[in-house]
Symmetry: D4
Subunit: 230 residues, 8 copies
Amino acid sequence: MPEFRLDWERAARTGTSEAALCEPKTAAQIDAIIAHAAELGHRLLLTRLGPRKFSQLARAARQSLDYDAETRTAILGGVPATPATGRVAIVCGGTSDLSVAREAARALAFAGEAATLLADVGVAGLWRLTERIDDIRRHRVVIAVAGMEGALFSVLAGLVPCAVIAVPTSVGYGVARGGRTALHAALASCASGLAVVNIDNGFGAAHAALRILGTAAPTMPDADLGSWPT
Amino acid sequence: MPEFRLDWERAARTGTSEAALCEPKTAAQIDAIIAHAAELGHRLLLTRLGPRKFSQLARAARQSLDYDAETRTAILGGVPATPATGRVAIVCGGTSDLSVAREAARALAFAGEAATLLADVGVAGLWRLTERIDDIRRHRVVIAVAGMEGALFSVLAGLVPCAVIAVPTSVGYGVARGGRTALHAALASCASGLAVVNIDNGFGAAHAALRILGTAAPTMPDADLGSWPT
Amino acid sequence: MPEFRLDWERAARTGTSEAALCEPKTAAQIDAIIAHAAELGHRLLLTRLGPRKFSQLARAARQSLDYDAETRTAILGGVPATPATGRVAIVCGGTSDLSVAREAARALAFAGEAATLLADVGVAGLWRLTERIDDIRRHRVVIAVAGMEGALFSVLAGLVPCAVIAVPTSVGYGVARGGRTALHAALASCASGLAVVNIDNGFGAAHAALRILGTAAPTMPDADLGSWPT
Amino acid sequence: MPEFRLDWERAARTGTSEAALCEPKTAAQIDAIIAHAAELGHRLLLTRLGPRKFSQLARAARQSLDYDAETRTAILGGVPATPATGRVAIVCGGTSDLSVAREAARALAFAGEAATLLADVGVAGLWRLTERIDDIRRHRVVIAVAGMEGALFSVLAGLVPCAVIAVPTSVGYGVARGGRTALHAALASCASGLAVVNIDNGFGAAHAALRILGTAAPTMPDADLGSWPT
Amino acid sequence: MPEFRLDWERAARTGTSEAALCEPKTAAQIDAIIAHAAELGHRLLLTRLGPRKFSQLARAARQSLDYDAETRTAILGGVPATPATGRVAIVCGGTSDLSVAREAARALAFAGEAATLLADVGVAGLWRLTERIDDIRRHRVVIAVAGMEGALFSVLAGLVPCAVIAVPTSVGYGVARGGRTALHAALASCASGLAVVNIDNGFGAAHAALRILGTAAPTMPDADLGSWPT
Amino acid sequence: MPEFRLDWERAARTGTSEAALCEPKTAAQIDAIIAHAAELGHRLLLTRLGPRKFSQLARAARQSLDYDAETRTAILGGVPATPATGRVAIVCGGTSDLSVAREAARALAFAGEAATLLADVGVAGLWRLTERIDDIRRHRVVIAVAGMEGALFSVLAGLVPCAVIAVPTSVGYGVARGGRTALHAALASCASGLAVVNIDNGFGAAHAALRILGTAAPTMPDADLGSWPT
Amino acid sequence: MPEFRLDWERAARTGTSEAALCEPKTAAQIDAIIAHAAELGHRLLLTRLGPRKFSQLARAARQSLDYDAETRTAILGGVPATPATGRVAIVCGGTSDLSVAREAARALAFAGEAATLLADVGVAGLWRLTERIDDIRRHRVVIAVAGMEGALFSVLAGLVPCAVIAVPTSVGYGVARGGRTALHAALASCASGLAVVNIDNGFGAAHAALRILGTAAPTMPDADLGSWPT
Amino acid sequence: MPEFRLDWERAARTGTSEAALCEPKTAAQIDAIIAHAAELGHRLLLTRLGPRKFSQLARAARQSLDYDAETRTAILGGVPATPATGRVAIVCGGTSDLSVAREAARALAFAGEAATLLADVGVAGLWRLTERIDDIRRHRVVIAVAGMEGALFSVLAGLVPCAVIAVPTSVGYGVARGGRTALHAALASCASGLAVVNIDNGFGAAHAALRILGTAAPTMPDADLGSWPT
């Protein structure tokens, strides 16, 4: 019943490939998006594509993707080579935050940007953060990933002059309330100049980093994609 | 134990067929409602009837219905023919909002009202909205369907003089909070004169449109239906 | 420091005069807006202009306005004559909701649209509502204004086939929470097809009515106005 | 490891049999409670005992109970005969609220109190409520059960002089927020003198009715029960 | 502009005098209500009438009222004599809750019902509650008034078989959140059969008690009153 | 109308003097409490007694008190001498949190317990905290006072083995939401074993410290106090 | 891609063994942590390890653990012998709160600290609490565990001079809101000096008790653990 | 009683002057901070210093400051000259958001960074935004300032490849809820890569911009400042 009018030209126009948020889409819709992108020869990043929904995709779609279950991301069109040293540091304190941190790394890699991942710098062990701080400061952008009470954001922003992007995660229970406490902690931080993205939004943090590095063009993961026959 | 006293006369009285919200009802209750309506020869729209619950209905009930899994709607008594061109435009930005948009279209179709569905006009690609805006303005009523931050509502209401009904959807995660952010954005919009319905309530938007078009009579999807033996 | 580029042409273009939300603006900003509108000969509706801020305006500004303290509205350029019988009914149950109901009436009057105000039809006295219901049904649009638990919205929408716009008010205390309970009641109503606007937003309801009546063009109370020297 | 010191004597002392909230308990804990009650010859009402957990109980426990899946209640020790006409009316508007209404009826029946269940009196069909209102008014206590926006509470309390106990239900979606909108509507009602219980708490409403009728003694569904070996 | 159609006949019809919630009304509106009631010879209870607004009333209005600043209530038409011993006990734990407790007592007195006020029975000093418990149990209805965490409600309901109406108050700070914590504690109490009214709503508790005692007729403090000229 | 039955004997019984929360009480109520305590020769701590309300007290009451405006505390019966070195460290990061920190110090001093106040150890300057950490660790109990995002709680609890009591303060704006973000951060901290009190509750933290030190007996700031004639 | 730098030395340094929060971790991550700890000969407490995830662990991991399904805890390295009489009392009112209470007991046992568990002291049966109160007062620290409205916290804190740690649980429905009502009740208690931990956080309460007893050193259940290969 | 140990050396060390959040501080505390900074010859930015509190400062303090009432900022040590063209664009849609936008401009000016302020680009007049978009795109960083529903954030981020920092403002009423709706809209935006700061936090946005431009060093507006004698 609806007409279709896609916007792949925009991707060609801005130099940035498309991204699609898969969680609220049906497998049939995702299949159609992938087929369309493949036909046009466009690269595509798919986010929040869980293993179960991935397994429901058409075989051709699945075979065309570089899929990573931990980060729930898939890449159509190949992952480009990235430089040996990156301009972005991704810092997270707990094992539990790693999947979000790695989603950010994948989104950066999709754009050809290398990232340094430091996963053992929680506020509980300040000396570890202190020991690594010179390494962290060498980066242009720091993506900080933390759940629970999000104290890492303030401590880190107090120690580095770089741009700091806070990604609150939904790790925690009770009053952690699915990441809202970490989110509010990042926004209300006594360390000024923190920039914050939505809960568990590793992709958004990566895109913000690309904007800061001057290599991004606007992309919209969801709204750009037209309507698909089921 | 309870007595039953149904209100199907009211439907006859007002000229509007009944609708039933199926989500909180048991399959047995829905079966009884359908059987009763069929016996009386009434048409009936069923909303939020998921595929799993549909499959639990009695075979006779299932066979009497025009069921659509994507919109979770079923129609008893046949879908009327609708005019070639509609007075209502349904506009949505993302693929993910389509099921709600189509629920509105189904509810309009049930009442014999055609709708134009435009599915590729998200705020990310303003030119697409601009290109279609003359088409949209030709309609008496515009139903706008959007999740996440709901920016579409304000942009659209700023461009058309028609009645605009905003349907926030539960698409999104983190602070999107199941549609509440889109809902609040619609209500607090800087573009005045927006009328808003509940989250994911495509049916309600359709009914509001029918009221505006002057073809509606009051119907209550749930409260009118009596008590049924289990 | 900023440059100014106003948009009064847009008002000329769409046929709808401007409106300005005064609450968050300084008296100096409002003075500048009025002076500019007067200079260009444009009509202007000012909303949420409390008596105290009104008294802080420049004398010339005050003298040019038709000010109404109860509704906190002011009209620049005169109130047009309205027809004897209106197409819009404004219904409110309690004395306390009257100022919001009258704000809607003023905004309609500014646009030359008459309204019938019915102020004694609370759900507590159902017979009064029943007695008036034939009168109410004669209107194209019903604006329902209610605070506290907002039961009026559902009862009214169950009795009339017209377009119904619910304006929840901040009347009430405790869990009424500044109008949020009435707002949620309107949105979650079992009577379908209700269209809802923000809390205490009589102006927005009037504008929605104008859109429905087909006499509106989009206006934005706040965003259209540029930046003013203090 | 813990010691056990039960309080069944209290039940004997106050004349009211025990009740146990089963949702947060393990099947083993419920089995132990039933066995203990049976051994002492006490009657017992079990609430929120879903079919799945019921099926996990020991066979002896299951066989000793009068179980009702719709209301998720079970009665140990038999359901007493109740008088032909009751002093409590239970009023609910929608089919979806029936299971909560019937939980209240079961709890009253457990205490030997008859209830009149009126299930077709939603605010959408006011005449039905009006027709039944004389019947309702004949009761000492009215338990009103409604979800969504809970307008029934206000309308009903405006029409009867009896004690009215409002039971908001979790029926609805979006801003209905699991019953909170109906709860707030009951508490903020413009019809004064409404008494309110927790969401979906049919049992609590029944107990409040028993207190009002003067036949209750304090019982605590959960806190009285000791610790059980797993 | 609005027409006026008051409902004082209803008061005559039901035997219950009117009540008016004054907080959201202007002094002019209250004056008009009082004048109208006085003219018709009706008694009237005014609630939430603060000292400042009282002083703004017309002199004639002020002189006709029995005003009590602590409870912010005024009575038109005289306070009736009450029996020596009451059927209602009002129990509150802290000095800070007294004004709400006394509002309940005033509303009962307005209806000719005596109340016993026990003000020193907080959960902190359980023995005091224990010592008075036999006295409390002699009443038909207990109104419990408490702020902060509202533990009094559960303790009291566990000790008496009477009808217990909980009035949460806004006493407290931080997470007491204006009475919401006490409200939720009352609703979620482990002691079953508690009936709850809105925060600080001593008047509502009194009216619920009157309904329970069988001496009430429905009155609506706000919705019944028509619209008044300013 | 109410009877009075105070509980000063309890104070004598447990060895702990009374405390009264003054914010929700009238000046007349506070005067009566002070007069009563003075008559009986009891010591008394008054909290949240703002300068304006203090100035409204009777002259005799004011003269009998050791009043401190910054902490809004007053002491009746003299401040005892405290030892040179304390067992409690009070740590706060910002100037803005000092009044709450000092309320805790006053409450400890009232009980004869000295406290070490360290006011310059915010997470922004970690080296300062590190330099003082050996001093802090020498105390039995650490009271940490912080607003905004409350990162201090986690950092501190990660560095000391002492009992740590977190007092979130209402310092901050926007999403700091009156202290709720700091409160949630303390409760959801990744550093385990933090004990938390209500927002701005310096008094409560001091009392918790006294319980830990083994010198406390239960006192209730509000509930113990009877009802007073106005 | 990430580097690993663990912090087991810290455990050796502070004398406190590690703890790991398992809920947000994958089975592979938990396996790696256990293997690493076992290799280094460290003891380890695992919390919130549900039966399903436990069954997904490697067989070697499972065999090395002392697993308890009710409390969802596992201990690596053996449970030490504890003294016959403990310094900590764990008090809970309802059967439903037992699993949280026992998590606290397990965490204390892991640290060699005995606890007395009293499971039948809900506020509904005050005499039971009164009878046991002398026994409870003999302990240095009382951990109180309660859900629903959490009235137990206030009653208990009013009766004992010990340090009292409140653990609100998620037991309850409706406005109990997953433990938030019990949490707020603990924080807003009229009984001063209560120290509160996160909802369902039995482990945190145990750690707070260890800090109070002077036998704790800071440990962080999550943040200390590095990043693991999947 | 407290000791003072300030951290002005840090300012010298990092090259960034201090900033102080004045809202929660007393005039005496602010006076002491200014005097101390002046004595050491440090520059200082004071934020959220309202006219009333400014007038309460010591005369010497007032005379040493460059005070701006609209932005509530004061600068000690002079405002440096800024380049003719800036690298930062500050975009806001409504007159009401200007004070926050200008706070950001002041904070940038304090750091010697020029900003281009565009104040007439609300989403209601898309063509104005389109006309200016080439100008906006020339900047390295865009600070977007908007209240109400915050649709500007998404529209703008969809049109420019620059780093975009969203500053939600508290402009609006009802469900705008003090800026939370705009905040959530920014975080849940369908236009990816938006970086967000706290509500009304123009200063924070400026600092984030400085971090992005590589000219910032970490400063903490509040936590760095020691404790001051009153």
